[in-house]
């Protein structure tokens, strides 16, 4: 199917086009969001939100990139926003009213990505724990390359950066992760 025709259908508010969009890209968006927020219930909620937002704001999509690139961008932005507001809720005095204590516990617990091989499960949980400490841009680049398997050029298009900048982010992310993981080592 021609992407431009598909975008036109979305612009017209075609419900079937919405269904097609969700069914085509739901795993891609869900996996990206899950790898960032590391909580399946929250990831599902954000994934729904991403599709609704994209459908409602499709008129502002200029078509300068592919629709999947835009979906990735919205998914990353929504995930990082959710992370920030969760941190605010769990740290701030509002936690008394919002029940943030439970969320904090969930965020501190181990996260087991369903796509990791069984024998690497525990090690991967350590890696995801260390990833929480990375700055947003480094974490985004790392997630897109490592869990989504994207090429640097694709990541650069999503993050609206140069390929060189993405390489730098990944290099720093790996260095920071190595340092953090070394501190988890028990002799």
């Amino acid at each position: 199917m021609n992407e431009q025709d598909f975008i036109d259908r979305l612009r017209k508010g075609d419900g079937h086009a919405f269904k097609e969009m969700v069914q085509t890209w739901q795993d891609m968006v869900y996996n990206t969001v899950l790898s960032i927020v590391q909580n399946s219930a929250e990831a599902e909620d954000i994934t729904q939100d991403v599709f609704v937002r994209v459908f409602r704001s499709i008129s502002s999509f200029r078509g300068e990139s592919r629709l999947s690139t835009w979906l990735y961008r919205v998914a990353v932005t929504c995930s990082l926003d959710a992370e920030r507001s969760r941190k605010r809720r769990t740290r701030g005095w509002l936690r008394m009213f919002t029940g943030g204590a439970g969320e904090e516990e969930a965020a501190d617990g181990p996260f087991y990505h369903p796509g990791v091989q069984y024998e690497s499960k525990e090690m991967a949980a350590l890696l995801f724990r260390a990833m929480r400490k990375l700055p947003d841009t480094q974490r985004t680049a790392f997630v897109l390359v490592k869990t989504e398997g994207l090429r640097y050029e694709e990541v650069a298009a999503i993050m609206q950066l140069s390929v060189k900048a993405v390489e730098g982010l990944l290099h720093r992310a790996k260095e920071n992760l190595r340092k953090e993981l070394a501190s988890y080592y028990k002799a």
Binding site: F55, L94, R178, A182, Y185
Partner: protein
């Protein structure tokens, strides 16, 4: 001593590398089965409702507003009662010492 620390550093680095490799060959997580149905239901809701109602800030704002209305009502009621009590006291005092308006102009 130095040799021990070098060895431990090496073990730490090896451990870190091993953990870093643990997600090589990771598969994409699959979205929950009813994701489309739920997303479609969400699409039916008006955007403005989704944006505000349900947010903790909104419920907290409502709570603060209710508390303020209660405090204001309490203060206003207390002020009215104090004024009434004061005027009752003055009337009683005036009646007791015949300082009423009628007393001054009687006869």
């Amino acid at each position: 001593m130095n040799q021990m620390s070098d060895m431990e550093n090496e073990q730490r680095n090896r451990f870190a590398d091993e953990v870093m490799e643990s997600i090589s060959g990771i598969r994409r997580a699959e979205a929950p089965v009813f994701l489309y149905t739920r997303a479609a239901a969400r699409l039916e809701q008006p955007a403005a409702l989704q944006g505000w109602i349900g947010r903790p800030v909104f419920s907290f704002g409502i709570l603060i507003l209710l508390v303020l209305v209660n405090v204001f009502t309490f203060l206003a009621f207390r002020e009215r009662r104090t004024t009434e009590e004061e005027s009752q006291g003055i009337r009683r005092f005036a009646a007791e010492y015949s300082l009423g308006t009628n007393a001054a102009y009687s006869n």
